[in-house]
Symmetry: C2
Subunit: 537 residues, 2 copies
Amino acid sequence: MKGLMMDYSLTVTSLMRHVEAQHGGSEVYSLTVENPAHRTTYAEIFRRCAKLANALRRLGLTEGDRVATMAWNDYRHMELYYGISSMGGVLHTINPRLFPEQLQYIVNHAEDRFLFSDPLLLPLLEKLHGAFPTVEAHVLLCSREAMPDSSVPGLISYEELIEGESDSYDWPDLDENLASSLCYTSGTTGNPKGVLFSHRSTILHTYASGLADLISINSTDSVLPVVPMFHANAWGVVYSAPMAGARLVLPGPKAGDPEALVAMMNGERVSKALGVPTVWLGLLQYLEASGKKLETVTSLVVGGAACPRSMMVDFAERHGIHVYHAWGMTEMSPLGSVNAPKVTTAGLDPAARLEQQLSQGRAPYGVEMRLVDDDGDELPRDGKAVGRLQVRGPWVANRYYRAEESALEDGWFDTGDVASIDSEGFMRITDRTKDLIKSGGEWISSIELEDVAMAHPAVAEAAVIAMPHERWSERPLLIACLKEGESVDADALLAWFEGKVAKWWIPDAVQFADELPHTATGKVSKLKLRERFAAAA
Amino acid sequence: MKGLMMDYSLTVTSLMRHVEAQHGGSEVYSLTVENPAHRTTYAEIFRRCAKLANALRRLGLTEGDRVATMAWNDYRHMELYYGISSMGGVLHTINPRLFPEQLQYIVNHAEDRFLFSDPLLLPLLEKLHGAFPTVEAHVLLCSREAMPDSSVPGLISYEELIEGESDSYDWPDLDENLASSLCYTSGTTGNPKGVLFSHRSTILHTYASGLADLISINSTDSVLPVVPMFHANAWGVVYSAPMAGARLVLPGPKAGDPEALVAMMNGERVSKALGVPTVWLGLLQYLEASGKKLETVTSLVVGGAACPRSMMVDFAERHGIHVYHAWGMTEMSPLGSVNAPKVTTAGLDPAARLEQQLSQGRAPYGVEMRLVDDDGDELPRDGKAVGRLQVRGPWVANRYYRAEESALEDGWFDTGDVASIDSEGFMRITDRTKDLIKSGGEWISSIELEDVAMAHPAVAEAAVIAMPHERWSERPLLIACLKEGESVDADALLAWFEGKVAKWWIPDAVQFADELPHTATGKVSKLKLRERFAAAA
């Protein structure tokens, strides 16, 4: 027997309608190349979404067609988010920092019909546009006046594209299971894979991320997503901040510039900000060097890679900012867990509480987790057993775009992470499956070693990779990048590990590097480190 | 083109699985007849849900069958909530305070197969069980030892029913659109009407109610639903508190006893409590008389009827407790709006902020509101235009149980309320459609007059009803119930209105009453007042 409740589709379109009715006046700040402090409102953004939709309909866009963006976090990118999905198109956000061959693969694999690019990316577009045969029109995200000279045929400005259009559009009633957006994961091996989000998965993820123990945005917040909008929808904030009616602060091309971030945070009275550890490490160092303070930020959400212990402690003790450790992946829309305190944490002593805070946190309703061993047998949730982390839920991918095969094993998605889960549901990633080091038949966690290394006062960033070893099969190699003006030699740094990890875990050697290579999503590229140091070995 | 995300049903079953994995250790306190402080955990409750499901399967329960409860807020009632819905049955919560004829109508209309009753309701059951021919078995919510003598054939205790059963159950994968629970609205006219909730509507409502600006429960909260579990699922708290992992404090039969409530609130360190104004008025008066303090409560959610201004002010100024005004109805699962501050409220002066706080609040994503005039034309959201309030969304009923016709008009559900909505989305109920007073062709709001009367220091509770009038067609009559030890005469009370409302709104007369009649859901019964005073006129 079916319930007798309204059949109401969970769609980006209905979210837009909600925000327009309830929070139309909330402000969106953007830093763009044209304007260091552009201010608009959700209502105005949605009016321009209607103009955009009319323009795209004029160009022949139909339901399910892919429209690509290569853009920073700003209001025009947000218009593409809402306008394209709400009219039934598929928003395809592209990471412009990928290799040109990857960009070419992605655009052709997605068969994007239109490509909207930031003016700063024009040099890239100049080189690549010929390799994008499916793209019928190129649009540059700027005003007509700001249009640079270009060899890209027919290139027009975004403002010119939409200026003559009506600011009303008869938004369709879409089925919630239709695709709303597409994002490729930049795997370290093989071709990128496309994750095709639905309207339903997007809205359910937005609901969950708004819960009190998740990102928990309310209307009085001012939210700064440093995490790019091309990276798993800026962890959903482009949806969750408007749903709550919060103010959005969008850093444009300045997301990697600590000085600009601090100015924005204080000037725009940011209460919550989200980003990867690399960004926050840079910010911490800048705060230390400049003596500046963050005046209004109360919490940071850190995800995309493990949060170093020292960073969490420094933010809390020196700046009074609580760091929420979060974990997820593009295939999970991306939120999988957030580390919010539990009633059971109240009684913990500070050291144990910090230990718990450093774990990747706990899953909201909508994400089920399990650990399995190599035979696929489930492992206990005792905080000790370590196994492959598998997930399922309404915002988890079940198949990659245009893949023939399911991405699931026995109904579960394998995250590629190795983790433990304790009896209170706190999950701790111990490694990526492929980054584990197998020494003498036993596993060594590269993440744990990196965490110890980064707690050393002279170390800015560190990575550990496996080196082939005749006797032990693999042994850990530490690669360290020192803070400016600091020094430590290899022996002293290795001595730092004593008493902190098992003796046989201590790396065999240290290599110093001026900086560590990062992937396009801001994680340390172990692939590049392996190439470089394997060659050296 | 469909998205490629997992097909994952939003069900009470999956919520139970989540709570078990993530928050199994969180405590549930109950006050029952047998035990003034019963303590258990979610994990233990779910183990007993499995025993219950096994027992019901043994008795022949199949998918879609209705199982009725007449019970207070306690852990056994919670086991019925999760156990029945999760196995595919339909939980039918009955308000035992309804008239016997209504109870008879409801049980027969729902064709309940089983009825679980609180021992305190045995006298009622003794009288009525013969009028429930569809009920195959009666269960009393107590231990075998606590079973009273009874003439109800085959009556067994809950504990006896489940004691021999296995505590594991192979919970089915249910379609999210299946019915999960049923609740009849006790309309003031005609027969009660059944609202048939689905698993999907229940879960979506739970997500929304957990948002930062809604009920916003987190794991460290201790939550006291004074609102009964037979009244629109205790406003969803039986789902939202476990989803967040919060502690639940269930007052059993003591929900109307201010002394017991204060003891429970302080003893169980309650942070948030939810209930109707009548309960909180009683609590305020008790606090004033006893000199006691609420030590841990930070906020109250008030709904079910309009929150009097004086109550909101008293809680804030004398007790430091923020009152969140909420609005909804059974047909809306029930949450329609909560009054949380907006970024735009920050600049208001205290008087204007209080004014805004007294409105019924703003709709979350998932509730769309519109105002229409008598011709069905939409009215502006300007805070001035007043019209019929209509709603739509995924947790709004589209048809009553076993009704032939849709409950909708043009795709919208008419709430029966008359309201305005301002440009910031704050909705203000000015009256029930049927409670409006039409005087000389113009509308007078009974709610606004009641609010003025209740602000008078001598008035405990007040109601305004329309009296037929030869010249003006209707005129307002004020019925007032005074605080113990206070006095005011009719002229002085009417003089109190001068300067506070338009002259022609001031009631023509006052009737004093020792107490006001309330409906089974705690609202002032205007129907009874009309019967009583129309006869007097």
